[in-house]
Amino acid sequence: MSFLLSCPNCGPRDVNEFAYAGEVTSRPAGPPDLRELADYVYFRRNVAGVQREWWYHRFGCEIWFLAERDTRTNEVLKTELPAPSTAEAMPAPQEAGVPDTPAT
């Protein structure tokens, strides 16, 4: 990957500055049954096309934002800050990694 991504704060920057955190998914609004829970935790749509996804400007302003990206071409159509107040369904990020050395 070598495209540019436009941080809502900092403007277009090299994609290496960012951390990708997966497609936007919906956290169930209420207690899910087992299948709904498994779908939410483990399953992703993995679309070949335009996808809404989370990015974090890790080596920059450290802000979380949303992007609409065509997964086939890496063309980024739009980036924006999340609007939490209107988030009727709560999306979830990918699982954060387990620290690979013993933590203390």
């Binding site: 990957m1 939410y40 934002f65 387990v98």
Partner: protein, 864 residues
């Protein structure tokens, strides 16, 4: 042996340079390349080929082919035709057993022919499978290119730099320079990259020598400038990479003495060298025939000029003696000669354009592939765009006479016309598959000399045309690039606490934990652990993640993130907290102290700090609660003083009553210690009475020194990470990532009190409810060995020979005098005193399950 001064020669005859080839001195001039100086010294054989170890000489003499690759100093695979001479350089031949003249491995060429057809190692050397390592070692020894020195140390520094330009011109030939000049005249910032030597152009930034190694996604152009990799992004990319002279396919076309026209031009014009005595020219275009001028100047006798445009021969056969050309037969006419110039016309060097997304189409009339449909910001100028002089379309190959030698399609990988036919006969009928099977175009020239001929041959064998066959995908790198350049600068990120130097001065053994450097121990881990039980020890815990969470929604935010409850905590109290994911997995642990109604101080594990703060920020990007998270990890240092005498020490330095009533277990208090503003957290990771002091980092060494000074008569001693691990294991305090993995949840890890499942919602609640419902599959328990042996961490727990669990931690506790540990076991064995067996050293050792901490199970020491 040089010719008289040539009009455009590059050498400066007044400045001699001496280097060494195989330890013998070679003399050249400034302006020579290693290759031209070797040629001047009489050398004609420059390498031995990849597979057959055939002699090879200068062919393209312009950095395209692999024929002149040698080892210079410690660097293998250097094309000496391009490498400027350097005083004292040590040059050696590679891929030979013996010398270039007498290479014992050349036996492969004489005897191996019938046994080493294309792909032979896929078939003949796979059985028995157990012998493959032997075959592999053998093959690696007899075939290939230069060798890397396994003991070589990092001798050069490589860097990467991000650059921008309005216009990036790749290629400094006539068209490239014109395009650069025009763009500069229009006021644009222009950078011109050229792989040949330095030059100047008004208003243009010249990057030479520099090689564009590809055009990547998003228009990224990495440029190899020796020790710096420039990552260019430009508004407009102008590709002016020119065209590549193509060889002809006939038996003996790899003999030493067979040249492409450019080689002759450079040898004569730039270095005043005579390429041969008797020459034959076979050419499809005027460029090839025109080298007769150079040859005339050099005094070479041109025996025949065969123009493929007017009188294409049917048969060409080159014969040699000891690998060197001795005669050429054209349709039966025999010429005694020592050089042959072949030209199959030129093919646009379109690879970069193809990488950028251009379409590559076959122009049947001209017999070449030309680029079209360029992306909007990419432009092609000059011969790469197809602006070429007219040329004949040469035959795919010229008929071989009886007994003629090998006809090479690909000189880099030693693939012959016969190999190619055999691959097709074996069913490799797509050009991409045939490429992978025969490795044509996959050698060091990257298809410069073999791509077009291979497609022509393929089309002829399939009785179709080149357009139908199409091209193979052009991939970066277009030019060879050293691994060091791609790896970038040697960089091992390390974080050090503000007390780091004190640990080094005290002679601590340092170790890595994530990016942190931490003391493993100072003298003896066991003794340091014992000392904490008996007197007082101090450990640097500045590496802990430290977050301030504040705002009206702080309590709600933390209660949503953690399974714990925090809203009911009194200001000044601390709770142990375990962070989980919505899959119920344990992600991190630490303490949460309530410093105010709307302010919490959160500590995380040392290696989890960055992940946790991103996690916090992410969830709040979703929830939008009125809360701020501030990362204080680097801003604050922290030390833990622990042991029965720690209260006395604190009392001497703190402006606060240290009594148990004033600061009880799990109290947080802000006070000055040694006049430094501190947050005192009374917690007990190591199981003894103890206080964590968190304070501004700049005071790190001062606080450390003061604690050691004022604690001297109490017997204070620093302790490292290893003793801390022994101490925490005695208490069965978990280490996230050591005792837990991607399946572990707080319920099965034996901490059900953490999860407040009666809360409306928290991250991981549903998954934990599910675990509760389905029942436990395994439990995290303690164990003690019945004899003293310490099992390996990760060791298997067995019962009647069947696996029932695994060890996550194990240590010898000097205080208890026993080997203890923690393990995941099936729930039926999670009983106090259950007998288990652990695999140790090939046998098994018996152990007993323990559910209560080994040391101070009631926590009396912590509360004392």
């Amino acid at each position: 042996m040089r010719l008289p001064a040539q009009p455009a020669e590059r050498i400066d005859r007044s400045r001699p340079v001496r280097f060494f080839f195989e330890d013998r001195p070679v003399d050249g001039f400034e302006g020579d390349t290693i290759g031209s100086a070797l040629f001047a010294s009489g050398r004609r054989v420059f390498s031995r080929s990849f597979k057959y170890h055939r002699r090879r000489g200068l062919l393209c003499c312009s950095g395209g082919c692999a024929n002149c690759m040698m080892r210079i100093d410690d660097l293998p695979n250097v094309r000496v035709c391009m490498e400027p001479v350097r005083e004292g350089a040590e040059v050696r031949a590679q891929n030979v057993l013996g010398s270039l003249e007498r290479d014992l491995l050349a036996a492969v060429d004489h005897f191996g022919g019938p046994f080493t057809p294309v792909g032979f190692y896929y078939r003949t050397m796979i059985r028995p499978r157990s012998l493959w390592p032997v075959y592999e070692t053998f093959l690696r020894h007899v075939a290939g290119l230069g060798r890397l020195d396994k003991h070589a140390r990092r001798s050069r520094r490589f860097d990467a730099e991000h650059r921008r330009a309005d216009v990036l011109v790749i290629g400094g030939g006539r068209s490239g320079r014109e395009a650069a000049r025009a763009a500069a005249a229009a006021g644009r910032h222009v950078v011109l990259v050229d792989e040949r030597g330095a030059f100047e152009l008004d208003g243009v930034e010249a990057l030479a020598p520099g090689r564009a190694i590809g055009i990547y996604e998003g228009g990224l152009v990495p440029v190899d400038a020796g020790s710096v990799l420039y990552r260019f992004r430009a508004d407009r990319i102008v590709v002016a990479t020119g065209a590549l002279e193509q060889p002809l396919l006939f038996p003996g076309n790899d003999l030493v003495g067979v040249y492409l026209p450019q080689a002759v031009r450079r040898l004569v014009d730039e270095w005043a060298l005579k390429p041969g005595e008797q020459a034959v020219i076979v050419s499809a275009d005027e460029r090839g025939l025109a080298v007769a001028d150079q040859l005339e100047r050099a005094g070479t006798n041109v025996l025949a000029r065969i123009d493929l445009r007017s009188s294409p021969p049917r048969q060409i056969v080159a014969r040699g003696r000891r690998g060197r050309l001795s005669s050429v037969a054209v349709d039966g006419r025999e010429f005694e000669c020592d050089m042959l110039v072949m030209s199959g016309g030129r093919q646009p060097a379109y690879s970069l354009l193809a990488q950028a997304g251009a379409r590559i189409e076959y122009d049947a009339k001209r017999g070449i592939f030309v680029p079209s449909d360029l992306p909007p910001n990419v432009e092609a100028v000059g011969s790469v765009a197809g602006e070429l002089e007219p040329a004949a379309v040469p035959a795919a190959s010229f008929d071989a006479a009886e007994g003629a030698g090998r006809c090479f399609v690909c000189v880099c990988e030693d693939v012959t016309e016969k190999d190619r036919k055999r691959a097709i006969a074996e069913g490799f009928d797509s050009i991409e598959l045939a490429k992978r099977y025969t490795t044509v175009t996959m050698g060091p020239c990257q298809g410069r000399l073999c791509h077009l001929p291979a497609i022509r041959l393929f089309a002829r064998e399939h009785e179709t045309d080149e357009a139908t066959i199409g091209t193979t995908t052009a991939r970066p790198p277009w030019s060879p690039v050293s691994m060091g350049l791609l790896a970038g600068r040697g960089h091992e990120p390390a974080k050090r606490t503000s007390i780091h130097h004190r640990h080094e001065e005290a002679g601590a053994t340092m170790m890595w934990t994530g990016f942190w450097r931490r003391p493993h121990s100072y003298e003896h881990a066991g003794n340091e652990a014992l000392h904490v039980h008996r007197a007082v020890g101090v450990i640097d815990v500045s590496t802990l993640g430290k977050l301030l969470v504040q705002g009206p929604d702080a309590a709600r935010f933390l209660e949503l993130l953690y399974p714990n409850r925090f809203g009911d905590m009194k200001v000044g109290r601390i709770r142990y907290a375990v962070l989980g994911t919505d899959a119920g997995r344990i992600m991190d642990d630490g303490t949460v102290a309530r410093l105010g109604e709307e302010q919490y101080y959160v500590t995380t594990t040392s290696t989890g700090a960055d992940t946790v703060i991103e996690w916090f920020e992410w969830w709040n990007a979703v929830w939008g609660l009125d809360v701020e998270t501030v990362n204080l990890t680097g801003a604050l240092a922290a030390v833990n003083i622990a042991g029965p005498r720690s209260r006395e020490l604190l009392g001497r330095l703190a402006q606060v009553d240290p009594s148990n009533e004033s600061i009880s277990y799990l109290d947080a208090k802000e006070a000055h210690v040694a006049s430094v503003p501190c947050l005192i957290l009374r917690i007990g990771f190591v199981g003894e009475l103890g206080y964590e002091l968190h304070f501004p980092s700049p005071y790190g060494e001062y606080v450390w020194d003061t604690l050691l000074e004022y604690g001297a008569d109490l017997g204070i001693r620093p302790f490292g990470l290893e003793p801390q691990r022994i101490l925490r294991l005695e208490k069965m305090h978990i280490l996230v990532g050591q005792d837990t993995d991607s399946e572990s949840n707080v319920l099965e890890a034996g901490m059900p009190w953490i999860a407040k499942l009666d809360k409306d919602d928290f991250v991981g609640k549903w998954a934990l409810e599910h675990v509760q419902e389905r029942g436990f599959r395994e439990r995290l328990v303690g164990f003690e060995m019945t004899d003293g042996v310490v099992p390996l961490e990760g060791g298997q727990i067995v019962l009647s020979g069947r696996p029932v669990g695994r060890v996550t931690s194990a240590r010898l506790s000097p205080h208890l005098g026993r080997a203890i540990g923690m393990a995941w076991v099936r729930p039926e064995y999670a009983r106090e005193g259950a007998e288990i067996e652990i695999k140790v050293n090939g046998g098994v050792a018996s152990a007993r399950v323990r559910l209560e901490p080994f040391f101070d199970p009631e926590g009396a020491r912590l509360r004392s």
